[in-house]
Every structure is written in structure tokens, then in C-alpha cells.
């Protein structure tokens, strides 16, 4: 396990999680990817989902289970996650482009249309993406949700941005 050495989830570790959608569901369009691998006491993602697509149940240390067919990728669970571990991945954003929505708590916020460095889980800049959406409703409580475009093959790599 590399996660406990450097904080970076590998693809193998990710795919084993019950809160990461399968390839087939990903191909259909926007869906959440919940990168929550440990039995920590936390469940705000569960009530955040209006569709009932995220189940933690009891005890609250359960790893969330994503009901991938109920999730429409609305992203309402992204900001409430105290671990900033939820992302929306839309493989059908454009012809060759995917969109990744991620929680962002740095200042200043990017503007819509701004080019930003797209960072992978190691913090390496792997692409220059375009910000297509910046959501900051008060219900997100100062966690912005930023949507950035990336090539499809980087959709499961990009997890942060740098201005």
C-alpha cells in the first residue's frame, strides 16, 4: 500500500473501493468518484445526496457505497465532504475531453475560462486545463467546486489545480 507512505492512492487501491464507479458507468457520463479508503467516522456525503446514491449506514465508520445507477453526477456531495475526497468525473464533456469537478479551498478562485495547471494525485502538473465552472453557493460553506477540462485519459488522474 503506498497510500500510507506518501498519501497517494494508486489506481489499484481506488478500483477496489465500493465508492468508485465501474468503467461502464463512467462511460455513460457525469458520476461521482469517492476517494475514501479508510474506516473513519464520517458520513456527511450520505445526507448530501438528494438521490440516495451514497450509503454509509451504521456504523458511520463504514466506507461509503456508491449506488452508481442512482448518481447523476450533480456534485452536491463534493463540498460537504470534510475530507475533500469527492470528485465528479464526466467522460462525456466533449468529444475528446472530460471534465473533473473538484473541491477548492484556496484563494484567489480561478475565473471561468481561465487556463490552470491540472495536477494529479502527486501534485504534478499533467495538463493545462480550462476552468468551465466555478460554484460558490452559500450552502457549500466556502468550499468552491471548480470544474476543469482535461483529456479523457487524464480524467482519473487530475485531482487538483494550480493557478
Amino acid at each position: 500500500m503506498t497510500l500510507l507512505k506518501d498519501g497517494v492512492l494508486t489506481n489499484e487501491e481506488l478500483e477496489a473501493l465500493p465508492c468508485v464507479p465501474g468503467r461502464e458507468r463512467m462511460e455513460k457520463g457525469a458520476v461521482v468518484v469517492i476517494e475514501c479508503p479508510q474506516d473513519i467516522p464520517c458520513n456527511p456525503c450520505e445526507p448530501a445526496c438528494p438521490k440516495g446514491a451514497i450509503v454509509v449506514g451504521g456504523p458511520i465508520t463504514n466506507i461509503p457505497v456508491l449506488k452508481e445507477d442512482l448518481c447523476d453526477g450533480c456534485g452536491l456531495c463534493v463540498a460537504p465532504c470534510p475530507g475533500q475526497a469527492i470528485f465528479v468525473v464526466d467522460l462525456n464533456h466533449g468529444n475528446d475531453e472530460a471534465a473533473v469537478s473538484l473541491p477548492y479551498e484556496f484563494q484567489p478562485l480561478p475565473d471561468k475560462g481561465q487556463k490552470v495547471k491540472a495536477l494529479n494525485r502527486r501534485g504534478e502538473a499533467v495538463h493545462e486545463g480550462t476552468v468551465v465552472k466555478v460554484l460558490t453557493p452559500s450552502s457549500f460553506d466556502r468550499t468552491a467546486v471548480i470544474t476543469v477540462t482535461v483529456p479523457k485519459e487524464l480524467a482519473m488522474e487530475v485531482r487538483s489545480i494550480r493557478l
Binding site: D6, Q38, I40, P59, A85, G123, T143
Partner: protein, 360 residues
């Protein structure tokens, strides 16, 4: 001498919840804190808390602090700030000092919720300006809006190190690296992942060897450690930083419990010497209770529940609350606390806490 029914010492999450709960059940409560503002560490916690709705999960610590201050006022708690409790004598008499004047206060019940202090780590250069506790850095950044440095190294990968590390970045400081002497990251991996994806390198089995600089920190030297925690020669690396942040654990602030003659047990898992206490949070001294980090280092979320349990027990013992009602309320607080201790992170805390139990 002034007399109160319940004196709560320490206005952090445990003390605030104890005071609110006590007042709610009709006790005349005085809450005392040495700081000029109540809230303990809550106002430094700009991140969203874990847990579930009943634990106020998803709410930032700073906002939980505001909620609790509001509830304290509404409940009619008397709050004495900038007031140090320097003595605890027989018959539950407290010696206080405020603005240079010493007074005494007699209490029928006392809840000690003094919290904890940050551990230091001694290494060559550790007294240089720029070496500081993670909590100190947090106070500067989040309370006083002062940047404590420009480039930092964080020592320790518990939740404090990981969370404060992230807050350094939020404040505009470059966190060059985080080192952890243990072979694995200690805190929640989701917090570590937040650092990693923003470019912070985390090195496990690595510690700080030295801080260098003339007037202040100019660099830090790290070194790998083997499975016996011994430095591995030749693995030293120098990093250009002006700030060394130490997040190497907390120790319960137990002086008043010592003065009161409480029984103790040493449990490294809980941060050191901890007052023995039962399920009601009562110590070996009848009528003196503990809650929060003084009762063993843990999260703010469980500290709040311990505060409530202690106040319920105090109210019950003074006849303000029927046994059945008190039991039901204590049970639900304990249930919320145990929810927090269910996973692999809380399990060790729970086991240690249980070993502190005083037979009723």
C-alpha cells in the same frame, strides 16, 4: 467567598458543552478560562469537522465555536475570561486570579476541562525562531492573520500535522515537505491526499535532525530512521525552509487534577498521565469530573460529548435530574461518542479510555 453549584474550568469544546448542559438542567454554572476569548482551539479550526449530523459534521470548527458561545449565553452561564485558576483546595475551593487580583470561588461540583499542551521535540537548533508548534502556527495564521513563515517543513503526520499542513498552504505558505518518523502516515489518509495532490512530498520513516540558521531558521536537515527509530547515517538532506512546524502530539494539562489529589494512570495512547475516571467522567475525587483532552487526547467531537456527560452527572448528583432521565441522556451522549471510536482510528483510544475506568 462566592459560591456556585458548578464550576467548569476551561472554555474549549468540552468546557462549553459541559457549561451549556449543566445550565440547561438548572445548575448555576460559572465557566472560567485563562484566555481573553472562550472557544479553546475551536476558533483556529477552519476546516469542516468529521462525524455525522449529531456531531455537527461538515461544519467548520470556527462556526461550531460561535454556535457554542451563543448557546452558552442563552443558557445563562456566567463566563469569567482572562482568569487563571491557580489553586484547587479542599472542599472544592478554587483560587482565581484576574487582572492581578486574587479571589476564591467555592463550587459544589467541578468539571476540569483544561485541555492539552503541544509536545515539543528537542534537536539541535530547536530554540531558533521559526521552530514552533503546529498549534502556534495555527494561532498566528487563523486567529491573528499573521504569516509565520514562507517555506515550511511539518514534522508529524497525525491529523494535526496533516490538517495544519494544509492550512499553511491555504495561508499562502509553501509547505516543502512533511516528515513522519513512523513507517506509516498516522492521521486520516484523506488529509494526506489533500497535501499530496497539492505538491507536498510526504516522507515516512524520516525525522528532523537539525534546524540551521544564525538568527532564525534558514534550513532544516532531515534523516531517515530505521525500524528501531535510529537515524540512518548518510541519509541526511538539507531543505531550505524558514519555518519548522512540530506536530508531535499533545499532553493533557493535568495540574489541577494533581492538586485535587486525583488518581492517575500513564497511557501513551492518550498522551501521558491521565486522571482516572468512570463512565460519568468523575475522577477518584467525588464531585470532581474531567472532560476533553485532560481525560485523554482525542477529537473535539468526543470532547463535547464528555463535557455533556460530566455535566449531566453533576446535575444528577445535585438532584436536578432524575436518574432515569440522566441515564438516558448520558447513554445517548456515550453512543454518539462511541460512534466516533468505532473504526480502527478510534478503537485504540476507546480501549485506553476504558482502562482508565474507576469501578463504581
Amino acid at each position: 467567598m462566592k459560591k456556585v453549584e458548578l464550576a467548569v474550568i476551561g472554555a474549549g469544546p468540552a468546557g462549553l458543552c459541559a457549561a451549556i448542559e449543566g445550565a440547561k438542567h438548572g445548575l448555576q454554572v460559572t465557566l472560567i478560562d485563562e484566555n481573553i476569548r472562550a472557544g479553546g482551539q475551536l476558533f483556529k479550526q477552519i476546516h469542516k469537522f468529521f462525524g455525522s449530523g449529531v456531531h455537527r459534521a461538515g461544519i467548520r470548527g470556527v462556526d461550531i465555536g460561535s454556535q457554542l458561545l451563543d448557546e452558552t449565553e442563552k443558557a445563562g452561564v456566567e463566563v469569567m475570561l482572562d482568569t487563571v485558576v491557580w489553586g484547587l483546595f479542599e472542599d472544592k475551593v478554587l483560587a482565581l486570579v484576574h487582572e492581578g487580583r486574587s479571589t476564591q470561588l467555592s463550587a459544589e461540583r467541578i468539571i476540569l476541562a483544561a485541555g492539552a499542551t503541544e509536545n515539543a521535540l528537542a534537536f539541535p537548533g530547536w530554540t531558533l525562531p521559526g521552530v514552533m508548534g503546529a498549534g502556534a502556527a495555527q494561532t498566528m495564521m487563523n486567529m491573528h492573520r499573521v504569516m509565520p513563515g514562507k517555506k515550511a517543513i511539518m514534522v508529524g503526520s497525525g491529523n494535526v500535522g496533516l490538517i495544519v499542513g494544509y492550512q499553511l498552504i491555504q495561508a499562502g505558505i509553501k509547505l516543502e515537505l512533511l516528515v513522519e518518523a513512523a513507517p506509516e502516515i498516522g492521521g486520516y489518509s484523506v488529509h494526506a491526499s489533500k497535501l499530496a495532490r497539492n505538491g507536498v512530498k510526504i516522507f515516512t520513516s524520516t525525522t528532523i535532525k537539525e534546524a540551521r540558521g544564525d538568527e532564525r531558521v534558514e534550513s532544516a536537515v532531515t534523516v531517515s530512521v530505521d525500524e528501531n527509530w535510529n537515524p540512518v547515517p548518510g541519509t541526511e538532506r538539507e531543505h531550505e525552509v524558514d519555518m519548522v512546524c512540530l506536530a508531535v502530539g499533545l499532553s493533557p494539562l493535568i495540574e489541577l487534577a494533581r492538586l485535587a489529589g486525583c488518581g492517575f494512570k500513564y497511557l501513551s495512547e492518550l498522551g501521558g498521565h491521565v486522571p482516572l475516571h468512570d463512565e460519568k467522567m468523575e475522577t477518584t475525587q467525588p464531585g470532581i469530573y474531567v472532560a476533553g483532552d485532560i481525560a485523554g487526547i482525542d477529537e473535539a467531537s468526543t470532547a463535547m460529548e464528555e463535557g455533556r456527560i460530566a455535566a449531566l452527572a453533576a446535575a444528577e448528583s445535585l438532584g436536578r435530574l432524575g436518574g432515569e432521565e440522566a441515564d438516558a441522556l448520558k447513554k445517548s451522549a456515550r453512543k454518539r461518542m462511541e460512534e466516533f471510536w468505532d473504526g480502527s482510528f478510534g478503537r485504540r483510544v476507546k480501549a485506553s479510555k476504558e482502562s482508565l475506568s474507576v469501578k463504581e
